[in-house]
C-alpha cells in the first residue's frame, strides 16, 4: 500500500473537486462536494481496490485521508 496512490484513489471518487485539493492531511468532510454518497463510494473503492472492509462508523471516526489510509493499512 502506498499513501500517494490512496490519496489519488480517494480523489477519484469526487466529480468536481480538483485533484490538487487532495493531500494526506485533507479533512475530507470539509470539502464542499463531500456527501453520504461520496462516503459510500470511498468505502466501495476501499473494498474493491484494497480488499478491506471499513464500516460507515469507522469512516466516521477518522478526520483526514491519511487517518483513513492508516485504518485501511491496519486491517490489511
Amino acid at each position: 500500500m502506498n499513501l500517494q496512490e490512496f490519496v489519488v484513489n480517494f480523489a477519484n471518487q469526487f466529480d468536481d473537486t480538483e485533484l490538487e485539493v487532495f493531500a494526506p492531511e485533507t479533512s475530507f468532510r470539509e470539502l464542499e462536494e463531500w456527501s453520504s454518497l461520496t462516503g459510500l463510494a470511498v468505502l466501495n473503492m476501499i473494498a474493491k481496490k484494497y480488499e478491506v472492509k471499513i464500516t460507515p462508523a469507522e469512516l466516521k471516526s477518522v478526520e483526514t485521508i491519511e487517518a483513513l489510509y492508516n485504518l485501511v493499512a491496519s486491517k490489511k
Partner: protein, 246 residues
C-alpha cells in the same frame, strides 16, 4: 421563436441504434440538431442508420455492450456527453416453467446488466456532463403482465427501479434520469412472439387503433433529452396508445 425542444449543441449517445426504437431516436435527435454517436453490434445496419441522419458530424462505434472489453473500448472513444439513450435490448418469449439459466442470461445481460455496467463506466470515466439527461427505454411490460413475457418484463422492471436510484445519486449534479415505457411498437422485437398478421389484428384493440411507431417514442425521448424537461427526473413515462394491457 425559442424552441424548448432543440438539441442543438448537444452530443448524444444512442445504444441499440441499428434498428427499431434506437434507430428512430437517433434520426429524431439528429433532426433536432444534436450530434449523435450511434452504437450497436451490427456494422452494416449501424451504417444504414448513419446514412439516414440529418446534418454532419455524427459517428458510429460498433460494440457488443454485453462484453466488458467492448464497453471499455466504446467509452474510451467517447467525448463528453449531454445525453445518453440506452435502447439496446432483446425480446424473449419463454413460459416460466421452461426457464433455464441460458434464457435468463440471454435477456438479463443485454437488457439489464449491460446498461447498468455501461452507465457505471460512463460515470467513472467522467463522460457525463453536468445537467445531462439519461434516458432508458424500458417497457410497459414491467407492469402489464403477459404469458411468456416474465423474464423480459423482469428485465425492464429492473431498469426502472435502477433508474430511479440513479436519479437520486445524480441529482446533486443536475443530471436527470428517466425511463420511457412503451407498449407494443412496430419493431423487430415485437415480432419475437407473434406474426405480423397476429399483431395487425391485435393492434385494433388499442384505443388509438394501432401499435406505436419508433418516431412516436422518439418524440418523447426528444422531450426528455431537451431542456424542456429540466425539472423531470426519476420518472417512468408510459406511452401506450391508450391501452391498459399489452
Amino acid at each position: 421563436m425559442n424552441n424548448p425542444f432543440t438539441l442543438s449543441g448537444k452530443t448524444i449517445l444512442v445504444t441499440g441504434a441499428s434498428a427499431g426504437i434506437g434507430r428512430g431516436i437517433a434520426i429524431a435527435c439528429a433532426g433536432m440538431g444534436a450530434q449523435v454517436i450511434l452504437t450497436a453490434r451490427n456494422t452494416e445496419r449501424l451504417q444504414d442508420t448513419l446514412a439516414m441522419l440529418e446534418g454532419k458530424g455524427h459517428t458510429c462505434i460498433v460494440a457488443d455492450l454485453t462484453k466488458e472489453i467492448e464497453r471499455t473500448a466504446l467509452v474510451e472513444q467517447l467525448p463528453m456527453l449531454d445525453g445518453v439513450v440506452q435502447c439496446a435490448g432483446v425480446g424473449s418469449r419463454v413460459p416460466c416453467k421452461m426457464l433455464t439459466q441460458d434464457d435468463l442470461d440471454h435477456v438479463m445481460k443485454p437488457n439489464a446488466e449491460a446498461p447498468m455496467l455501461l452507465q457505471a463506466q460512463l460515470l467513472n470515466e467522467k463522460k457525463i456532463k453536468k445537467q445531462a439527461s439519461l434516458v432508458y427505454i424500458a417497457s410497459a411490460a414491467a407492469t402489464m403482465p403477459s404469458s411468456g413475457n416474465a423474464v423480459y418484463s423482469a428485465s425492464k422492471a429492473a431498469m426502472i427501479a435502477y433508474a430511479k436510484c440513479l436519479a437520486q445519486e445524480l441529482a446533486p449534479r443536475q443530471i436527470r434520469v428517466n425511463c420511457i415505457s412503451p407498449t407494443m411498437v412496430w419493431t423487430d422485437l415485437a415480432l419475437v412472439g407473434a406474426t405480423i398478421e397476429q399483431l395487425q389484428e391485435a393492434q385494433q384493440l388499442y384505443p388509438l387503433k394501432r401499435y406505436g411507431q419508433p418516431e412516436d417514442i422518439a418524440n418523447l425521448a426528444i422531450y426528455l433529452l431537451s431542456d424542456a424537461s429540466v425539472w423531470m427526473t426519476g420518472s417512468n413515462i408510459e406511452i401506450t396508445g391508450g391501452t391498459q394491457t399489452l
